[in-house]
Every structure is written in structure tokens, then in C-alpha cells.
């Protein structure tokens, strides 16, 4: 009976592949500032969730049809490992990270080459390398999102440490220990509240039977669907879920006096030392911090653009009124070993 099905299956294969074929259209050939026509491969390693980086790549590809934009995405630390392994034999041109600590650590290993993209001096000092080896793109905050159908206003948690309260047992979703934002939060907390309190917090999460997913997309969807009451996410995952029509709310944690404040971080980009297409890499970095590139992050992803003067997404709360945690970049990077020891000790999945 199967041989009768085979032609049908073959046809189906053809239809499917035809429908989903390439959609990019040729545009006028672009050139960089020096007027050189850019071409060749531009290899980008990215630790960011793919759908959050794909729009800006698509826009860049559309502007530069001569360049073949190739993306390899994975977890932040997976890509960082790969870059370290490839140090003698570099393959990538650009690395995009979800947080600054990895960028800083890799820059100390000599993985990046310095470059000041157009408009570099306008970017905030807190989010660029002292030697221009990496540059911040957008800012984001660690927040708690909740399902409004399941949690009432008066019982909302106010602090990260409320997540270890037994009344939320089994009701919380978060990203697991491979997730760079989660790793960065733990490393930041070690600096902010000390190793013991951080360890207690992690153990508390485990005792509270927090469900750890591979990434935040799962977390936001699960909270949106009411599978969990609370989710520990980056702020834009709340907005993305809200945009899909879910009845969800956002909590900016640790705002009271004496509390640590919101843990914020930034996505970054850097050019690899030994890049085979440095012209395209530089042009791409220019694009990422240009008004055009920053707008894509701001409008599509609800991220806080680091380039001043770019309008926030209208739904986004400005950072001005919020209490931000005081994070020392270099010190936090020192905490990374401790972070992984804590993760292992707590058996964080």
C-alpha cells in the first residue's frame, strides 16, 4: 500500500518546499561609508533567541543583497565556548550576546577586535567596553510576569526573594541554567547580595519546585496560557506575550528602599579577532547601532535602545522612574566561576 502513497508524498514534499522558498528580493547594491561594495559571507554567531535577532538580520540582508548573511544561534555560553575553541582558527565575523558579562570575559581572552561604530560616542559608557572591543545594543530588565487571571493585585510578589515563598510552590516558571540571562542574574546577585543569600535563593527556587524551561519563550507562553502563575523573564517577554493577547501583568521587583533594585543588562555585539570579512562586520555593527537598526529592536522586540533619541515602544515603561541595581561589570565577571558552582550545588537544571 505504501508504494501508492509515495508519489503523493513526493508531490507534497515539492509543494512544501516551493511554498517556503526564498523570499528575499534584490535591492539596489549598497556600499559602506568608504563607498566599497560589500560582499562575501558575513558569519554571525548569536546567543540570542533567534526570533529576536532574525528581523534585524533580515533588514540588513535586504540592504546588502551582495552579502551572504549566515547565522549560527545557540546558547550564549555554547557560542562563547565555540569562539574560545576557534581562537586559533576563527570562523565567525560577529558575535551577538544576550548579556555583557560574556562579552567582557571573551574580550579579556582577546577574542574580539576593537571597533567604534558610527555613533559610538553617543552610547552610554556603562554598556561599552573600555577598549571598544564590544558595544552594547539594547538594554533589558529582569522582571516577574504574572497571569492576571490567576493572581490578584494584592497578593503580587514584590521581590525576587518572594519567589522562594512556599505559597508559590509549583506555580513559577523560569529559564534553566543554560540560559545566559539567568546565569547573568545569578552572577549579578552574588555581587549585590552575596554568595550565601544567592545560594539560599537558588535552593529556595528548587524547593519551591520552579519549572525550568530551556528558554524564555516557553516561560512566557506557559504563563500566558495559565500553566503557571508567575514567570521569571526579561521584560520584553512580558510584552511579547501581552502582544499575543494574553492577560498578563509585569512586576518590577526589589524597588523598596534597602532592596537591590532591578537587575538590568544589555545585549552586545563584537567583531571577532581574525574575522575574514572585517569590512562587512564593521558595516553590520554600524547598522546595529544606527537609528534604523535600533528601531527594529525597539519596535519589534520591546527592548530599550541604547542609542539616545530612539523612541521607546509606546507600551514600554521608561526606565527613569525605576530603581536599578548597581552592578559592577568587572566584579560580576569575577563571579562567574562561583555562579556555576552555585548552579551545580543547587542542582539547577
Amino acid at each position: 500500500m505504501l508504494h501508492k502513497l509515495l508519489p503523493v508524498l513526493a508531490t507534497l514534499t515539492l509543494i512544501l518546499s516551493a511554498c517556503a522558498g526564498s523570499t528575499s528580493q534584490p535591492d539596489p547594491i549598497s556600499s559602506n561609508q568608504n563607498g566599497n561594495i560589500l560582499s562575501g559571507k558575513l558569519i554571525i554567531y548569536s546567543g540570542r533567541s533567534e526570533p529576536l535577532i532574525q528581523p534585524v538580520l533580515a533588514a540588513y540582508q535586504a540592504k546588502n543583497p551582495q552579502i551572504e548573511v549566515l547565522l549560527k544561534s545557540g546558547s550564549n555560553s555554547q557560542m562563547a565556548n565555540t569562539l574560545l575553541e576557534e581562537k586559533a582558527n576563527p570562523q565567525a565575523d560577529v558575535f551577538i550576546t544576550t548579556e555583557v558579562f560574556t562579552a567582557h570575559a571573551l574580550s579579556q581572552e582577546g577574542i574580539f577586535q576593537p571597533y567604534e561604530p558610527a555613533g559610538y560616542q553617543n552610547l552610554p559608557d556603562a554598556y561599552k567596553a573600555y577598549d571598544a572591543s564590544w558595544v552594547g545594543l539594547t538594554q533589558r530588565m529582569r522582571v516577574i510576569m504574572y497571569n492576571k487571571d490567576l493572581v490578584s493585585q494584592d497578593e503580587l510578589p514584590h521581590s525576587m526573594f518572594d519567589l522562594t515563598d512556599p505559597r508559590w510552590k509549583g506555580q513559577i516558571a523560569a529559564a534553566g541554567s543554560t540560559n545566559a540571562s539567568m546565569q547573568a542574574q545569578i552572577a549579578s546577585m552574588i555581587q549585590l547580595v552575596g554568595q550565601d543569600q544567592t545560594e539560599a535563593w537558588l535552593k529556595g527556587l528548587m524547593e519551591n519546585e520552579v519549572t525550568f524551561f530551556g528558554g524564555h519563550s516557553d516561560v512566557r507562553k506557559a504563563v500566558g496560557a495559565g500553566e503557571f502563575k508567575l514567570g521569571l523573564v526579561n521584560h520584553y517577554y512580558y510584552y511579547l506575550q501581552l502582544g499575543e493577547g494574553s492577560n498578563v501583568g509585569i512586576i518590577y521587583p526589589d524597588q523598596a528602599s534597602g532592596e537591590m533594585g532591578i537587575i538590568s543588562n544589555a545585549t552586545t555585539a563584537a567583531i571577532i579577532n581574525g574575522s575574514r570579512n572585517p569590512d562587512a562586520a564593521r558595516d553590520f555593527l554600524d547598522f546595529l547601532v544606527s537609528a534604523e537598526g535600533q528601531k527594529i529592536f525597539a519596535e519589534g522586540n520591546y527592548e530599550y535602545p541604547l542609542l539616545p533619541g530612539i523612541a521607546l515602544h509606546p507600551d514600554l515603561v521608561p526606565t527613569d522612574g525605576l530603581k536599578m541595581a548597581n552592578i559592577e561589570l568587572a566584579q560580576v565577571v569575577e563571579n562567574f566561576d562561583a555562579t556555576f558552582v552555585l548552579i551545580d550545588m543547587a542542582n539547577l537544571p
Binding site: M1, L2, H3, L6, L9, L12, T13, L16, S17, C19, A20, G21, S22, T23, S24, K41, I43, I44, Y45, S49, E50, P51, Q54, A58, Q61, E68, V69, L70, L71, K72, S73, G74, S75, S77, Q78, A80, N81, E85, E86, A88, N89, Q91, A92, T178, N179, Q183, F213, G214, S217, D218, K221, A222, A225, G226, E227, F340, D344, M345, N347, P349
Partner: protein, 544 residues
Amino acid sequence: MFRTEALRSTNRRQNKPIPKIAFLAGWVALLAVVPVIYILIRALTGDPELWQRIIQTRLIKLFSNTLWLVLAVTSGTTLLGVSMAWLTERTDVPGRKIFRWLLALPLAIPPYIGAIIHLALLRPHGGLISQWLEGTNFASLPLPNPTGFWGAAFVLVIFSFPYVFLLSGAAFRSLNASFDEAARMLGRTSWQTFWQVTIPAIRPGITAGALLVSLDILAEYGTVALLRFETFSSAIFVQLAGRYDRSAASILSGVLILLALVILYGEFRIQGQSQFTQIGSHWRPTTLIHLGKRRIWGFLALLFTVLVSFIIPVGLLLFWSAQGILDQQTISGMQIGSKGLLSFIFNSVWSSGFAAILAVLFSIPIAIYVVRYPGKVSRLFSRISQVGYAIPGVVVALSLVLLVNRFLPFLYATPLVVVMAYVVRYIPQAVRSSESAMHQLSPNLEEASRLLKRNALQTFVQVTLPLILPGLLAGSALVFLSSLKELPATLLLRPAGFETLAVRVWIWTEEGFYLQAAPASLLLVVISIIPLYFLLRRETIFRQ
């Protein structure tokens, strides 16, 4: 290549020169074993302090998780596989010829795609089933938790049982009617006959199948990661993807390999014994058992299994694909960098195809050596080349990253590393197919060719090759099928821009984009059905 005078010399072995083919076979065995040895050395030379920390914090839990899962899935597949085979081979249940095909088809669905569907259906609140039940009288029906141990065990049983089904089906088919008749004449009931005659007769085949399933479970990454049940494979992946230190991953890999080698050794032992099920010249098919009124239950059991393991998953994939294709946003989301779905298909097919060809080419010297020069050394080479069965994809990836970067940097970050991983991982399947093809070829033909003044190479090309070709093709189809579905090694080793269908399915699913993942999943299943169909036609139960 062939020394005819040596073909049957069993007692004059001492002074026999080493055949040239042994060197070729030796290289292949070396290629297959280097990654394992490298990881074992890395593990054993790991920092003692790290060993201690791993033993204290993780090892016991990983061991018990992994072993329980292996045990549960192996028992489950055996139970389901044997009963399905019994129903379709030994009873008069209606529609059994079609069911035979349908029961083998889940082999085209990688377990992680099964897990995606399982999760999409059963997730509490968000799942499709709870959405359908909403507003009906069944809304408060408690649904089983789709994740964790039971979820993973269920999915793995549902998508692995066809291995046991095919093996036990073949065993049932080859049973000689005279066994049954003798037992019945000696006053045994049909139930006693089943346990005392049938089961012992098919046991070696089933045990071998079950052990291969357990090796598969040890290696499985996607399903356990998705359903959040931590085993060695997923823990190693987390180490590789989430940490800056390779030592812990090497240590866990070393332990996992040792565990797998024990199982593989058991499987080798049984391989030697499973000669039970051969069809001799006096063979007559056993008579079918008439189920009578119970036929309907048999039919329902078959129908339910087929629904759960093939029809519902493929139906859902078709539905999502249709939805996805009609939605412009989903279509444009299928573009990754400058690459689209066509390139994913192309990459999947050529890398798997290339791996299949290489694996079969490499398996030929081993097969010739072990079949034409039986002895301790040749058997050792043959077994060493099958060690790949015991190295999960994550471990292959880890060792190739380290080895290639160090010794073959020009190969690094090319798709060829991915192909190498497939070859190392799946060459055992090619070796087995080639060996069994060589076994069926009488050495007389080769001797005749040599007497007619053909040299070894001519003999191989003109006589041996055409005759073993169907066996070689079957081996390559098997390697192709496995490589197409391979996930963890591809995820870790692929260069930028080299995306396969399996990788896309995985990344889109991780992001929760089921509509985007569906066409790629469906294509993966559809492409898998082609080699699977070819392979199934060679199976005993599908030969007429």
C-alpha cells in the same frame, strides 16, 4: 584481497600472512574507536576534585534516572512490540496486512518530534486537548502530566517499539509449525505453548532488539530535554552548552560510554546466539490463532497503537503545516539569515547521503575481513567498529570538536565535521548490513573468479560487489535514515549557515513556534519514509 587458499584454513593459522584487507579494516576500526578512547582518556585524567564534586552532586541521580528510563522503555517496547507482532503474525485479526506497514512507520518519526506533539497535545492548560475539553463536561478531567519520567518513557516507547515489532514479527514468521504441533500433541494448552515454546524460540531476537533500544535510549537527547527528564545525554548537553569548562562534560561522557559499552557487550554476546530463527527446508508456517469474538479487541489494540504512534502525529503535522503555509508571517519566519527551507532540505539530504555512502564504503573492508578471515583479530576489529552504537551524539560531538580542532583544523567548521559525526555514530549499522551480506555470499564464487585469473580487485568489483550490493544499499539506507534524524551532534557541530531540517525543527520548537516547525518536521518524516520503505521491503514480514 582474497587469498583463496586461506578461505577455509582454520587449523593452519599460525603461519598465515596477514591479509592486506586487515590493514584497511584496521584503519576503519581505528577511525571508529578514536573518539571513544579520546573521551575516556579525557574523563580519566579529569581533575579529581571535579570528579568528587560530580560524584557527590550529580552522578547518583543521573545514574538512577538514566537506568530507570532505559529499563522502563525497554520493557515497554518489548511488551508493545511483541504483542503487536503476535497480533499481526499469529492471529486472524482483520486488516493485519495493512497494520504491519502502519506499525513500522513510526520509525520515520524521530522521537523528539513525537515529544513535540505529545507536549502540544497534553500540556496542562495550554495543550490542545485541554483547549478542546474547555467548556465541555470533561473540562475538569485530570490530564496526565506530559513531562518528566512517565512522559519521556511513554514517548520513547511509542516511537521505538517498531524495532522490537519488526524483529519479533520476523521471529514469529519463521517459527516452524511443527514446534507448536508437538507441544499441543503433548497436551499443552495454547497459552502454555505460547510461554513454553513460542517465547523461548523468539527470545534471542527480541533480547537483541531490546538491547539496541536501550542503547538508543542512552543516546536520546531531544526527547528527554524537551520533556525535562534529566539523563546523562541531556546533562552532557547542558554542560557543553551552558558552561565554559569541558572537563565535567568529558567526565559525564566517560561514565555514559562505560554504561553503554556494558550493554553493547551483552548485545554482542546475544548476537552470536540468535541463530534460532532460521527458516529451514522443512519449514511450514504455523496456523493462525482464531480469536473469535475477541478479534474486535485485537483490532482496537492495533488501531489505537497506530493512531497514537503515527496517524495523530502526522495528522497534526499536516494540519500545522497547512496553517503555517497559509500564513505569510510564518513563511517569512522560515528564512534564517540568507537561507530558506530549500537549503535546509538540501543540507539534510546531502549530509546524510554522504555519510551513508562513506559509512558503507568503510564497512566493506571490515565485512570482508571478518567474514573471509574469521578469527580473534578480525572479530575484534568488527566489534570495535561497532562501538559507535555506544557513543551518543553529544559525546561524538564533544570528541570531534576537541579532536578536529586540534589535529584537522582545516576541516573544522565545515559541514564535513557533521558528516564525520554521522559516520562515527552510525557506521555500526553499515558494518552489520555489509557483514550479513558477505555471509550470504559463498566463497566459491570468489574462488572461481580467482581461478579464472582475475586479481583481487577485479574479483571484488566484478563478482563480490554486484552480489552484496543489495545488502550495502540497505546499510546505506539505514545510515541515511539515522543521520537525517540526528540532532545533538548536528546542533553542536554545524557551521554557521548550515541548517538541517532536524536543527530547524529543534530551534523553532524551543522558541515555541510550532507552526514554523511543522513543515520542516513533516518534510523530515516524508523524506525518512523513502529509505524506510526500501528497508521494510527487505524485512521478513513484508516479503511475500
